[in-house]
């Protein structure tokens, strides 16, 4: 009997918030663009003796906002805890994080494969960055603390993801939401978004229905995938892992519980670290930071900060302007762009112009406007110029078509021998020669007619 496996994936995502200052001190929060190492530092983020952390209010607000946008509940009494371990990029020997009372919990994100439940959204500080180098022939490791103390939001899902495509969709949608709220750039190359996937395979025999209680039992191992630098790599790494784990399980063995990285050149995952037991971080509440107590009014206020979410915007535009979602979702990334677009659409309506047409041009990048800087009136002017057609008679067009066909008889032969897409080139030549704005499909049918006559 063929063994069937159900893929069980949970994802942990870290997002660097783009607050002006770091999480627990006033240092500039700009690690990626810093012109030199160790310039955005102070006693607090360097872990000097005697320094104390003071929480960044904006970072807390943004974390709550993200959690609420994900449909989470809020812990009205929350706190920061110390998470202890030793590493050269961790100046205090502990990371200030959240343990048992995260700011937000119990949310969800929709994917086309089903709902992915969000277990928790919490706030912590980032570590410094290690660089391996060779100085005077010696192998050394250098530490840069520009990143130490940057606010980091961690989003953990339940193991509700069941294939690589769903993982990719989840990550993309999360990124879209975070960028929309404008709380982070979520750039995986710059490190402001980091993905981790925990994967295991659960054996199901072919006559076991998925409705039994066994559905909820998790496999007794999980493999952690880290250091994945793109959505494409995420998908490939997960698919490789599924194959690798299935092979091991088929032999009757258990995959080792470990952390693996992904090698994009070889398209494989490889062992990075084997963890026999869970690390003891000796969590305890950070005595330097009083606990946070939120009032209903404060949470309501933050709820009020959340702009209309992307899926709501697209639905509204579909209803009001008949916009196709596949174009609508291409024309904005941030919430303030939506505000501006609404103003532009209103102006178009006022002037009797087509919103759908503008959106199509924007989506295909065929119109040169700056949504944020140009006024709605200016955009209408550019739009009209681009789309207004000239009044050109067939009498004018036909001679030009004949000339173009004569001059490009090679292309005509290609067209006649079956390469139909050459028509676009020929139409383009006619367009150029005429120098006027003519509806493309009209021109195309005229050219086709003329070719038939040859």
């Amino acid at each position: 009997m063929d063994k069937q496996y159900r893929t069980i994936i949970g994802m942990e995502t870290h997002i660097e918030l783009k607050t002006a200052s770091k999480m627990f001190c006033g240092c500039k929060n700009d690690p990626f663009y810093a012109p030199a190492p160790n310039i955005y530092t102070c006693p607090v983020c360097l872990g000097l003796p005697g320094a104390l952390p003071v929480p960044n209010k904006k970072a807390v607000q943004w974390t709550l906002m993200l959690g609420l946008a994900l449909g989470c509940k809020v812990n009205m009494l929350s706190k920061f805890d110390r998470k202890h371990y030793f590493y050269p990029d961790l100046p205090k020997g502990y990371q200030i994080s959240q343990y048992d009372v995260p700011l937000c919990y119990d949310g969800k994100l929709q994917t086309s494969f089903g709902e992915v439940r969000i277990r928790r959204v919490h706030l912590e500080e980032d570590t410094g960055k290690l660089l391996h180098a060779k100085i005077d022939g010696q192998k050394v490791t250098l530490v840069d603390f520009n990143r130490s103390g940057v606010p980091l939001v961690e989003i953990v899902t339940e193991p509700d993801i069941h294939c690589a495509e769903q993982a990719k969709e989840y990550a993309k949608k999360l990124r879209q939401l975070v960028r929309y709220l404008d709380i982070s750039d979520c750039d995986m190359e710059q490190g402001s978004m980091r993905l981790e996937a925990n994967i295991s395979l659960k054996q199901i025999t072919s006559n076991l229905s998925l409705d039994t209680g066994e559905e909820n039992e998790l496999p007794s191992y999980k493999v952690e995938l880290k250091n994945i630098n793109s959505f494409r790599f995420l998908e490939r790494a997960i698919n490789y892992e599924i194959r690798r784990q299935a092979e091991i399980l088929a032999k009757g063995e258990m995959p080792v519980q470990e952390t693996r990285g992904y090698n994009p050149e070889k398209d494989i995952t490889y062992t990075q670290r084997v963890k026999e037991t869970a690390e003891d971080y000796r969590y305890f509440p950070d005595p330097d930071i009083p606990p946070m107590r939120f009032s209903d009014e404060q949470i309501q206020e933050i709820q009020g900060f959340i702009p209309e979410l992307p899926f709501q915007v697209i639905a509204r535009w579909q209803k009001t302007y008949g916009l196709e979602p596949r174009f609508a979702e291409l024309i904005f990334e941030r919430f303030y762009e939506v505000e501006k677009l609404d103003l532009i659409f209103a102006e178009l309506i006022r002037q009797g112009l087509s919103v759908a047409k503008l959106v199509s041009l924007l989506a295909q990048k065929k119109i040169e406007v700056d949504i944020l800087r140009d006024t709605p009136e200016q955009i209408c002017v550019i739009f009209k110029k681009l789309t207004m057609l000239d009044d050109v008679s067939e009498k004018e067009i036909i001679p030009v078509v004949e000339t173009v066909l004569k001059e490009n008889f090679g292309a005509v032969e290609d067209y006649l021998s079956g390469r139909k897409q050459v028509i676009n080139f020929l139409v383009g030549q006619v367009n150029k020669a005429l120098g006027k704005k003519i509806d493309f499909s009209r021109l195309r049918s005229l050219v086709e007619e003329q070719i038939k006559k040859l």
Binding site: L48, G50, A51, L52, K92, R282, F284, P287
Partner: protein
């Protein structure tokens, strides 16, 4: 008593003399360094002494502004700091070789406030390394000697600060109190010391021992001096999330007010068990003084204080094991092999108390009991305004006695540690001498943020007694 030297005078008296130009700042500085030259080789109160000529230059600069008026009473007054406090460009070690070569790039908030007020920093005092101890013997530098008997300890962990104030090497010092570290040495050296309410003085820049217990406080010859110093260093600091605002009117205004009708509580648990009879006697004499002043005396009971030392150590050691994790020699300092056995012992115990499987029954249990203690103090304060107790159970031990007996070392904190757990302020005042002339202090514990009341009562006591006016025989010039 004839004052044989300027540094015998109180701060307001010195400030008055300075502002009327009857003396110059440099005279104070010179006297300080002369006493240091003479007595420091006997006392060993300093780890780092600032260069005399550099300090004299500072004094010259400060002198220029003397006639401008509106100066702080601390202007031109020589002081020292327990080596716990970061001082920019002046070595700071916390008495550990791990920081032997550490020169901080910043100063603690309270240091900035004192320097802004015009006080003159003379040097950094020795202590038990990292605050770990009650004798100042757990230091990687010279052990402090008690100026009253140099074969005995000066107490700890702010032993160096107490000794240099007692020896008139400075006018005042800032110590640090986590479980009794200001009160213990103040009592053993016959000086006045204040443990503030937790959060009253900013902890920013103070090398942390136990974050939920550490307090920063003044040590000087009189309660009056303590009040003037607290005015400068107290108050909210935006760099310390645990610091509190709401300062009362100037503390000096409470000095001289009558204490008639106030009630003093005597916790019976603090007066049973193994206490040196001479210590008990001193405290009883003090209670009589308060009765003479018109205060009422009442007995109170705080049954859980008997767990005080255990609760204190479980919490303090857990927090210190965490706070010392940053000393990994990567960014500054020397490696961890320089931690002393006493410090290593505390780190190991603290790590154990926080570790998986043990945290529930040790650290967390201690925190729950801490709440019980807080409630007990609260209930006691329903019946009285202040509590009185001894500071330590015995007389100042000989050097070597405490450090060789870790358990006895821990038990020195019996009367002082629960005050830190509750967060209350407490005053340690000279209250008498043993038959052999060793100082014995007593402790007044107040309600939270009521340092003003402690000053009021302490000042009244010091008007009725002159224990605090005595100075150790070695300071007399031969």
């Amino acid at each position: 008593m004839i004052k044989c030297m300027l540094l015998d005078y109180s701060i307001p008296k010195l400030s008055d003399l300075l502002q009327r130009k009857e003396i110059a700042i440099r005279e104070l500085v010179d006297e300080a360094y002369e006493n240091i030259l003479r007595l420091e080789p006997l006392v060993h109160g300093f780890i780092t002494l600032r260069d005399r000529s550099a300090v004299l230059k500072e004094a010259e600069e400060l002198q220029k502004n003397i006639s401008k008026g509106f100066l702080s009473p601390l202007y031109g007054i020589p002081f020292s700091l327990k080596d716990t406090y970061n001082t920019r460009n002046v070595r700071t070690t916390a008495a550990s070789k791990v920081l032997d070569t550490y020169i901080p790039p910043y100063s603690a908030t309270l240091v900035e406030r004192l320097i802004s007020a015009g006080a003159v920093l003379i040097g950094k005092n020795t202590q038990d390394a990292w605050g770990h101890g009650a004798s100042s013997e757990n230091t990687d530098y010279e052990i402090v000697r008690n100026p009253w008997d140099t074969n005995r300890i000066a107490g700890g962990s702010s032993g160096g600060s107490a000794a240099v104030v007692a020896s008139r090497m400075v006018s005042f010092a800032i110590g640090e109190d986590t479980g009794g570290s200001i009160r213990n040495p103040a009592s053993m050296c016959n000086v006045s010391g204040l443990k503030v309410t937790y959060g009253r003085v900013s902890r920013y820049g103070s090398i942390a021992y136990a974050s939920s217990l550490d307090t920063m406080g003044p040590m000087a010859k009189t309660v009056e001096d303590l009040a003037y110093i607290l005015e400068v260093i107290a108050g909210r600091d935006k760099r310390d999330a645990t610091s509190a605002g709401d300062l009362p009117a100037k503390y000096r205004e409470f000095l001289g007010r009558s204490v008639q009708g106030k009630t003093i509580g005597v916790p019976k648990e603090f007066f049973s068990g193994e206490i040196e009879p001479q210590v008990l006697d001193v405290v009883h004499q003090a209670i009589k003084v308060f009765e003479r002043l018109g205060m009422r005396v009442t007995e109170v009971s705080m049954p859980h204080v008997k767990y005080g030392v255990s609760i204190y150590y479980l919490i303090a050691l857990s927090e210190t094991s965490s706070n010392l994790a940053r000393y990994d020699a990567v960014r500054y300092g020397k490696t961890r092999k320089h931690f002393t056995p006493e410090t290593s012992r505390r780190i190991i115990l603290g790590t154990y108390a926080l570790s998986a499987g043990y945290a529930e029954g040790l650290y967390k249990k201690a925190q729950k009991l801490r709440t019980v203690l807080i409630q007990e103090y609260s209930e006691a304060f329903q019946k009285c305004d202040v509590l009185i107790s001894p500071v330590t159970p015995g007389l100042p031990p000989k050097i070597g006695e405490l450090i060789s007996n870790p358990l006895r070392n821990f038990l020195e904190d019996l009367y002082t540690a629960t005050v830190n757990l509750a967060g209350s302020p407490a005053l340690a005042l000279p209250a008498g001498f043993s038959a052999e002339g060793l100082p014995v202090g007593m402790q007044l514990i107040g309600k939270k943020f009521r340092e003003s009341e402690l000053f009021q009562i302490g000042y009244a006591y010091q008007q009725e007694t002159d224990w605090h006016k005595q100075s150790p025989p070695i300071i007399k010039k031969s």
